[in-house]
Amino acid sequence: MATIRQQVLTLYLSTSALDSRVLGWSMYDGTGNQAHTTGDSDTPPYETGLDALRDGWRLLQLPVLIPPYPGEEYSTSFMKYGFVFEKLEDTGA
């Protein structure tokens, strides 16, 4: 039975640049070793997205840049720059 499990980290950055500052973060741990939930930390795991790469996280998804919809140029909604990373952990023993 496969013992590889995925950890997923999403970093919400200040701009579309991967080396910009982390503003928000979420993590889900498929190994079951850590349980993350809303409001469990005031300190981001990395200062920038690039720092996560340097620590071994693999980039899975970049935010797509979409022009504002006509009439919605000044409205704000979701965080625009969510970068998704993964690590694969072998839980086998």
Partner: protein, 281 residues
């Protein structure tokens, strides 16, 4: 009519416009907090049909005593008028030793109004950090999202966990992102929430006597000496989680709400709207 001394001042209103909430620590006296806790335990708190004038709600109860405090009347009147409409109430409970927190969300559904409802959050007992406290994200109230759409965001810079003493009140703009944090104690946590709708146009309802002539005058842009605690200063402060570009739009959102609340359609901050409105014929 409440005495003007109990109304909010312009700095407080600017804080509300900028950050979407005002916090009043230990505002409610202990005897009312204890009476409300007894009513919660007895399941004796009864709301009213949506749209009922608030003055007709909770007659003879400890909650009525809380709402009748001059400071509470003053903040309600400043934000949504003297006798707003009861929307709904809820006793929010976080059970002991929960496995996880509630997901981040904005209440109700996506709401495009400039008019706003307020939600009073009343903490009738002490809330230490390990008990969680409501989490709120300052400055999130203008973001157009639909309820739990934002539950994927676990943590944001600048988020506030409501750690407070009994009798603390929050007054929230309806759009604020928030959630119930995980309760890691062996005690239940309670928070009483009351949503109120304005019944009058929200125009200069607070004590505006402190708005000095010229407070709204355009200032030089990019000066570092503008941190004077005035309305323009408060409305220009970025939250730690604002993106570089969208953070500018949030200031525009604040300008628009301040214009709505004051009736001053030329008010500006850092020339963000004045520049766009300059269209010589």
């Amino acid at each position: 009519m409440i005495d003007k001394q109990h109304l909010l001042n312009s700095q407080q209103m600017a804080e509300f416009v900028a950050r979407g909430f005002l916090r009043f620590d230990e505002l409610v006296p202990a005897e009312i907090n204890e009476a409300v806790m007894r009513d919660i335990d007895r399941q004796a708190i009864k709301g009213a049909p949506a749209g009922t004038p608030l003055s007709q709600c909770y007659a003879g109860t400890a909650l009525r005593h809380m709402l009748d405090l001059p400071e509470v009347q003053g903040l309600i009147q400043s934000l949504v008028g003297e006798d707003p409409l009861f929307d709904h109430d809820a006793i929010h409970v976080r059970e002991p030793n929960e496995g996880k927190a509630q997901g981040l969300h904005a209440d109700s559904i996506i709401d495009l109004r400039t008019h706003f409802d307020i939600q009073l959050m009343y903490f009738p007992h002490d809330v230490p950090l390990e008990m969680g406290g409501t989490l709120l994200l300052p400055g999130s109230h203008f973001r157009r999202v639909n309820e739990m759409d934002v539950a994927a965001y676990q943590n944001m810079r600048g988020q506030i966990a409501m750690v407070c003493k009994a009798g603390t009140l929050l007054a929230l703009h309806h759009g604020i992102w928030h959630c119930g944090r995980q309760n890691k104690t062996d005690r239940r946590r309670y928070m009483f929430k009351l949503r109120l709708n304005p019944a009058v146009r929200q125009l200069r309802l607070w004590n505006t006597q402190d708005l000095e002539p010229g407070y709204q005058s355009q200032r030089e842009i990019y000066t570092r000496n503008a941190r004077d605690g005035g309305v323009q200063d408060i409305l220009s402060r970025r939250e730690p989680w604002f993106e570089a570009a969208s953070g500018r739009l949030e200031i525009v959102n604040r300008i628009k709400l301040w214009r709505f609340l004051t009736g001053d359609n030329e008010f500006d901050v850092h020339y963000w709207l004045g520049r766009l409105e300059n269209k010589p014929a």
